[in-house]
């Protein structure tokens, strides 16, 4: 047996041992075929269905028809998945390549006895016992590698309850690379999604609602950050990579799922960007329009499609003026109208009109004009094999 097989076997045996030790494993409840609003102690859905009687949600049962993909089952993702499970979501897809570690115990959800198990398996086991009505699909891999990414895209496209696309993707990952991978997949698949994040200093976080073509994609601008209002120079990472707090992560998971519910069940108002600054309890909100010169070609394509759809719509007589970005089908030279009072350099790589308290993590240069170098053959005719051999011979 390979090391991987042996490791799997160990995990499996540990799990069995754990179950055997517990012995008196609490009887799990039977599945419930139809959500009931009956107010009795034994009905797990009575308080949720009460939302209907109170006039908050029109059709709560609809939640059982939805599939949500949670990418990253860490401090935010696990709590997000638990909330959706308790709300009776139809199906959850969970993606994570990591294992539960004792170092995770400063956050919610996972328990010390789960250390060593894969996060997705440990999470699915707990969540199933909380609500056996939810369908689970788990994937224990890193979505940013080429092979896994194709599989990930395929599951987003066909992993819904009825075999169609999932209804929402929630990015609860902890790194830029994975966020960019989710962004790429969702732009290609025209998949609506939410991004969430907690700063590495644990005192700020955000959620963002992304509709490809209609709102800014994750690659339209440098990462948006909630200004911490502390001198960055005093925040040095002496011997540490990241801090985390169960509070900030719980709050971000809470606002994330709140907006997911509002979007899916059609009540209230969904925030397009909601920041959270824990130090001063400040929650800025804003909408971010897409960047016509976004580096992601799928984003530009979705923007053009959205603009075309908008143009085809009958004009609704409305007094309030919503400023729409003019998006041209092709704009080879990157020409755009600039507010004369603004410096010309502030157009391309930067975002203007950010809400107070939100900045970009860094500036990016304006995208360079498509240069002809890329289409011209490389001056060096050496084949790749030769180059590989040359490298090896060094």
């Amino acid at each position: 047996m390979s090391v991987a097989e042996l490791q799997r076997r160990i995990t499996q045996l540990e799990e069995e041992l754990r179950k055997a030790r517990r012995g008196d494993a609490a009887p799990e409840r039977e599945k419930i075929t139809k959500m009931s609003g009956e107010v009795v102690d034994t009905n797990p859905y009575s308080r949720l269905m009460a939302l209907k009687r109170m006039g908050i949600v029109e059709d709560y049962e609809k939640i059982r028809t939805f599939t949500v993909a949670v990418v990253g089952v860490g401090g935010v993702g696990s709590v997000t998945a638990e909330m959706l499970t308790r709300c009776g979501i139809g199906k959850l897809q969970l993606y994570d390549y990591d294992k539960v570690e004792l170092a995770n115990m400063n956050r919610l959800f996972f328990q010390p006895h789960q250390a060593g198990q894969s996060k997705v398996d440990a999470a699915a086991a707990t969540l199933r016992s909380i609500n056996p009505d939810v369908h689970f699909e788990v994937h224990n891999y890193n979505i940013t590698t080429v092979d896994n990414f194709d599989h990930f895209m395929d599951r987003i496209r066909t992993g819904g309850l009825e075999g169609g696309a999932v209804d929402l993707v929630l990015s609860c990952v902890d790194n830029y690379e994975a966020r960019m991978a989710v962004n790429r997949a969702c732009n290609e698949l025209e998949q609506t999604w939410f991004e969430s994040g907690v700063a590495e200093n644990a005192v700020s976080g955000h959620i963002q609602f992304l509709i490809p073509g209609e709102t800014a994609c994750f690659d339209c601008a440098p990462p948006l950050v909630v200004a911490s209002q502390i001198d960055e120079r005093t925040l040095k990472r002496e011997g540490v990579c990241a801090a985390s707090l169960p509070t900030t992560m719980g709050i971000v998971a809470g606002v994330l799922v709140q907006n997911v519910l509002k979007h899916l069940l059609n009540f209230g108002q969904v925030s397009y960007y909601l920041g959270y600054n824990a130090l001063v309890d400040f929650f800025p909100t804003m909408t971010v329009r897409p960047n016509p010169q976004c580096e992601d070609s799928w984003c530009r394509k979705r923007q053009a499609e959205y603009a075309a759809r908008k143009a085809a719509e009958p004009i609704v007589e409305k007094v309030e003026v919503v400023e729409e970005e003019v998006v041209h089908e092709d704009n080879n030279w990157g020409i755009s109208l600039v507010d004369e009072s603004a410096p010309a350099t502030a157009t391309a790589g930067q975002v203007t009109g950010l809400a107070q308290g939100i900045t970009t993590a860094y500036d990016r240069p304006a995208p360079s004009l498509p240069d002809d170098l890329t289409s011209s053959p490389p001056q060096d005719a050496t084949s790749l094999d030769d180059l590989m051999a040359q490298m090896k011979a060094l």
Binding site: T145, V146, E177, M180, C241, E295, Y362, R364, L384
Partner: protein
């Protein structure tokens, strides 16, 4: 920030011209050739400057890279395996360079042995897409990381010298 020596060695690495990632079929092959040309030049420069410090090779598709890097401390050579995947979003995002055997030995690492880069690396990379390639990631990411972390780990006794593995 980037010191003068790094700046100098950086300047002599050929810049990439093709903005393509591993999902871009033919364009990726072009990019991969540029990557190899960049790496060959960089390693050659290092050798010429008597500062040879790593070797890398990749699988056929150029999506998975592996090799060795080493660091000389008080005349002893400490050698480590280095590996990384090229993410689907490359070159918009840099590869996550990993030293698996040092996992758990320093706080300046994410799980699995991915090195924790400085606040300066990502902005610098982002500003130089698609011109920076693997050689730049090595020069700006792994090089400075080794220079700071290895002496510290040796001092703490978590990294000890072993006779050359061959």
């Amino acid at each position: 920030m980037v010191d003068d020596a790094t700046r100098k060695s950086l300047g002599s690495i050929p810049l990439m011209r093709t903005k393509a990632g591993p999902r871009d079929k033919e364009a990726w092959v072009t990019r991969l050739k540029e990557e190899y040309q960049g790496l060959i030049k960089y390693v050659q420069n290092n050798k010429d400057a008597d500062n040879d410090w790593f070797r890398l090779e990749s699988n056929k598709e150029g999506t998975r890279w592996f090799g060795k890097c080493w660091y000389i401390h008080e005349l002893l050579k400490y050698e480590f395996d280095v590996e990384f995947d090229i993410p689907v979003t490359y070159p918009a995002t840099a590869p996550e360079i990993t030293l698996p055997e040092l996992d758990g030995k320093t706080a300046k690492m994410y799980r699995g042995g991915r090195i924790c880069l400085t606040d300066h690396f990502k902005p610098l990379w982002a500003r130089n897409v698609p011109k920076f390639g693997i050689a730049h990631a090595m020069a700006l990411g792994l090089g400075p990381w080794l220079a700071v972390e290895i002496p510290d780990m040796i001092q703490r006794g978590v990294v000890t010298y072993t006779e050359k593995k061959g």
